[in-house]
Subunit: 202 residues, 2 copies
């Protein structure tokens, strides 16, 4: 399988972290693919017309996206503990956590783009801050439950989203106000799969 | 179950269309919830800190989002034909189509917001146009396969995304260049569940 990949994309990191956790990383042939919101990459468009990474190309030439779909596909390829829960209540909790992590990442990427515009819109900036604060407060409330749930896809989505704040938003300083989820993230970040996939420039 | 709902949101429409298709619409108590990118709604934030609709509130008070997670939850509540395929290959094809439909909707909403800014960025506008054209070309290539697949969640995501162009982008005029997917959309739009949930202002 080929993976359109970049070392800086937090959505790609979800897939790589998943592959490390499940022992599948050697099955992925990484293809360095550069994308930017305003620069569609013509080599990626045939595999994913939305021009997003990660995009997985299966051996039959068909493609899969987005990151959560790729992770669920990978979960069927290994014999270890499944990272998508099978019991319905646990499954939907994990899926809601995935949507929160992914939504938070989408928000952070839009926020970063807004900051870098020639004419940043103060209404957008203010709305991103409100939603970020609400998300961190929700995660702080959920930190104990998160820590008590067997590690899985929900943890990966939330961990990759929160880690991205350190990479691209060092000024946010949310940790002192949200000590429980900060401690959870510190544990998450010590996992070998997290260390192996830490975002880096280059 | 309560659903944070609006008659204009294309993501809400996915859930409503799904509920009509599966006979579950009477189980949903609709709560009119107004959201805008730059106006977080304080009544929604406790149920969904990302401030997005649809958000479903279960009878135990917990919430579920986003639209695809809600649809998958609803698929477990009815006794008819499942709209999430069970066979893995069909399932992942449907999930990839969902990601394409949802990604296209995200793109259209960002595009519309960009057009309405005081200082629209021409690089963003150009990138949205490129991705939209690539997505329509991909859907045109896939139109026969889409029509041949049993109706399900992938169809709902793509149908709701394409319908949104008619509601908010009447100037795009993509149909003459993409006749197969335009014909598929016309069939989709005649389904009773599609007619019952058509977007409207008000």
């Amino acid at each position: 399988m080929k993976l359109h990949w970049s070392p800086r994309s937090p959505f790609v990191r979800k897939v790589m972290l998943f592959a490390h956790e499940t022992g599948l990383v050697d099955r992925l042939e990484l293809r360095r693919t550069v994308v930017a919101m305003t620069k569609p990459n013509p080599e990626l468009l045939p595999d994913n017309p939305l021009n997003k990474i990660p995009t997985l190309i299966l051996d039959d030439g068909s493609s899969l996206y987005d990151s959560i779909v790729i992770c669920e596909y990978l979960d069927g390829l290994h014999g270890g503990a499944k990272l998508f829960p099978e019991e319905p209540k646990a499954y939907f909790t994990a899926m809601r956590r995935c949507a929160l992590g992914d939504g938070l990442l989408d928000l952070l990427i839009l926020w970063r783009n807004e900051r870098e515009r020639k004419h940043p819109d103060p209404d957008y900036l203010a709305a991103y801050a409100v939603k970020f604060d609400a998300s961190l407060a929700a995660l702080e409330s959920e930190a104990d439950a998160l820590a008590a749930t067997p590690f899985g896809i929900g943890h990966i989505a939330i961990g990759c989203a929160l880690s991205y704040t350190g990479f691209r938003f060092p000024d946010l300083e949310w940790r002192p106000r949200h000590p429980k989820i900060a401690a959870w993230l510190a544990d998450f970040s010590r996992r070998p799969a997290a260390v192996a996939t830490e975002a880096r420039d280059g």
